[in-house]
């Protein structure tokens, strides 16, 4: 269980999982998966499995936290106990508190909060199976959940990590690349405007490598953004089909 990793890039120049340096893992996105939530998204990304539920806009309790001019956004990012190598205790850990905070700040930026005075929009994101890059995947899922709930947004947030592995800047780090590589740099942006809503880094990168990473992440984010659009279109066409069916039934 503790095998020695000698190299993360193979002799043929590809990564351990056979991907090219700038290649994404397979990603799937599905909205409206939950019955009770106002909006939801189930997203798989490599072996990551993430579920996001959106509740709201709804009344905020306790009321003294409410803001008279806008809604607040509350985000809870959690790891399921069995989503990681060593079982995690059910109580949230510091990492989960930190990520909840920065995901919340990121999401805050795109919602037209002033449309819902005194309200709250609550996002609950749980990583059911973790495989590196969960925070970027979480933001990507959250945007879809918000759209599914019909929350008006000025743009879509899309995330993708880049990082440094065996001296090379690569896109979309896997779990092992994240842990054994030289650096991890999660990025999220509104693709259409290029505005960075999340940017972190752990590791050891030169300023030039950071610059290269930012450029690569933008390209990757563009690809993922197209998948988000498709997932939403799929939903709307499904709704249309359903309403067609309803029409037929009514006839």
């Amino acid at each position: 269980m503790n095998e020695e990793i000698t190299s993360l890039i193979r002799e043929d120049g590809l990564r351990l999982d056979g991907r090219g340096l700038h290649e994404l893992r397979p990603i799937s996105m599905q909205t409206g998966v939950l019955d009770r939530a106002d909006g939801s998204c189930y997203l798989t990304w490599g072996n990551n499995k993430i579920i996001c539920a959106v509740y709201g806009p709804r009344e905020l309790h306790p009321k003294h936290l409410a803001q008279p001019d806008k809604a607040i956004v509350r985000v809870e990012y959690r790891l399921a106990t069995f989503s990681v190598e060593e079982r995690k205790s059910p109580a949230p850990r510091r990492r989960e508190y930190e990520l909840s905070k920065i995901l919340s700040e990121s999401i805050n930026n795109v919602i037209f909060l002033e449309k819902f005075p005194n309200g709250t929009i609550d996002l609950f994101i749980t990583v059911l199976d973790a495989d590196g890059g969960t925070r970027c995947a979480a933001l990507t899922a959250a945007s879809l959940g918000l759209a599914d709930a019909g929350i008006p947004m000025r743009g879509m947030i899309t995330g993708c990590a880049v990082g440094k592995v065996d001296g090379k800047i690569v896109v979309d780090l896997s779990d092992i690349e994240d842990k054994e590589g030289e650096g991890d740099m999660p990025v999220a942006m509104i693709f259409n405007t290029g505005e960075l809503t999340l940017l972190q880094c752990d590791g050891m990168l030169t300023p030039e490598e950071v610059e290269e990473g930012l450029k690569l992440s933008k390209t990757a984010i563009g690809q993922i953004y197209q998948m988000q659009r498709k997932a939403l279109l799929a939903k709307y066409s499904q709704i249309e089909e359903q309403s067609d069916e309803l029409d037929e039934e009514e006839e």
Binding site: M1, V33, R36, A37, I51, T81, F82, F124, L128
Partner: protein, 284 residues
């Protein structure tokens, strides 16, 4: 279905009027359950797992195993512990935070069903790595993802199905320094048979099996019974402030003893499916 947890008086009237006529909102018979789907092995990082869709209810159970110390009074037995979270994902009524009394009761009902049925033989030598010192600890964690009613039976089923596909690492022991090293190879968790839970709701004076969300809210009492594949009752739990008469309980037990067979069959069939790849993408 998005509404408050407390049933409205209109909803209640509709519910009970129908029941009085012998009908249920979703057209089931009083003793009829909802459709069930199980996707086993859904979580790669877990040693065992199962996603269960039971009517509109969605529950995910995962099993993690870990080496640890045995309890002092059972020094050669493995340890099992069941946790359950009413995730705020699953309903507008649930909040984050440590489990409240409702989640604790559910976790303990699921736990008792597994424990008392002895379907996982905790004294199996495979679960005891170094006698008196190191045993396998099994953590069964159940997350409610969508609350469509009858969470107890769905949770028990998910936990059971997750255990049914759990694999534990083989271990090599250095006898001299009493240290265990995990190997890459795994073997199935020892298991003897199967157990399932069946829950009945009493609404006014009518009793129905497998309450949906509205029936769950409208019930005055609940009765859950866990039965093994051998037909033995290994756990019962009456809940809520309504009462049951002895006769009602006996009727329930008779019905449960016959219905349990179908549930056991579903679990055992699922436990044959071990490939993760085939259900990588699933539909809720």
């Amino acid at each position: 279905m998005r509404s408050e947890e407390i049933i409205s008086s209109l909803e209640r009237k509709y519910l009970t009027d129908l029941l009085t006529k012998g009908e249920r909102m979703d057209n089931r018979d009083f003793w009829e359950g909802r459709p069930i789907q199980i996707i086993p092995n859904v979580i790669k990082k877990a040693e065992g797992s199962a996603m269960v869709k039971w009517g509109d209810t969605v529950v995910l159970a995962g099993v993690k195993v870990q080496l640890g110390s045995p309890f002092p009074d059972t020094p050669n037995d493995g340890v099992i512990t069941v946790n359950l979270e009413l995730s705020p994902i699953s309903s507008p009524s649930y909040e984050s935070g440590p489990p409240g009394p409702v989640a604790v009761e559910m976790a303990r009902i699921v736990d008792r069903g597994i424990r008392e049925s002895k379907i996982i033989p905790m004294n199996d030598p495979k679960l005891c790595v170094i006698p008196g010192k190191t045993v396998w600890i099994l953590f069964v964690d159940v997350y409610i993802l969508d609350d469509g009613g009858n969470l107890i039976d769905a949770s028990a089923l998910a936990a059971m199905a997750a255990l049914a596909n759990t694999r534990i690492p083989k271990v090599s022991i250095d006898e001299e320094i009493e240290e265990a090293t995990l190997l890459d190879e795994t073997e199935p968790l020892p298991r003897k048979g199967c157990v399932a839970s069946l829950t009945y709701a009493k609404i006014n004076d009518i009793i129905v099996y497998d309450p949906n969300l509205i029936e769950d809210r409208g019930k005055i009492a609940r009765f859950s019974v866990a039965i093994t594949d051998g037909g033995l009752i290994c756990s019962m739990q009456k809940g809520e402030s309504g009462v049951f008469l002895e006769e009602e309980i006996l009727n329930i037990l008779e019905n449960a003893s016959s219905q349990v067979k179908e549930l056991i069959k579903i679990i055992e069939e699922t436990s044959q499916v071990t490939e993760l790849g085939q259900m990588f993408q699933f539909d809720f």
